[in-house]
Symmetry: C2
Subunit: 110 residues, 2 copies
């Protein structure tokens, strides 16, 4: 019984981190090679700048994302998944598989 509780606590924390509004979509954007703020925003219809910035900061503080400032002529900021973030790839893949089987294509993207 205590094992069930322990599994539950960690699973629970994980699924709620990943399931927070927009977080899953941001992880998927990063996993599919979108690293600049504008690129990430472009592939997530409906996300506001406030939300996207807030979620990227949370993902940074949770150790899932690293923010890199690249000193080109115009300074460029890139967001990269850490090892902890990259390790979510199988979770995202499993959700994509399920969603493609069970969730209808949205009529209008959010």
């Amino acid at each position: 019984m205590s094992d069930v509780h322990e599994v539950c606590g960690r699973f629970h924390a994980a699924i709620e981190l990943i399931g927070t509004r927009w977080t899953g979509a941001i992880l998927q954007a990063l996993l599919t090679g979108h690293h600049r703020y504008g690129e990430i925003k472009a592939v997530i219809p409906g996300v506001s700048d406030t939300m996207l910035s807030a979620r990227l900061r949370t993902l940074e503080s949770e150790g899932l994302v690293e923010r890199h400032v690249i000193p080109t002529s115009a300074v460029q900021v890139q967001y990269q998944l850490t090892e902890k973030g990259m390790d979510l790839a199988p979770v995202v893949a499993a959700v994509v598989t399920w969603a493609h089987k069970w969730i209808p294509v949205p009529v209008q993207s959010r």
Copy 2:
């Protein structure tokens, strides 16, 4: 680009359904063989009756869970995953694997 948007919309809907507070834990409870209301509640420390009932109703209306009334001497209610719900097993397994690697054991279960 339109492909990215489509994938995103369905993935997005799926991850936010699964990630809603308590829903992941309830799915895990059902997947690990807890089918009666009291059993489900017992393996999810901290969940209130209001939340658990509300989430079970949502999972029913989303087609993930079926509620069966079993007419024994004392009427028994059981919650069973549908095929759509059972198909989430690989998602839950992937989250458990990730959580066991990256999420510390909670000091005090919620």
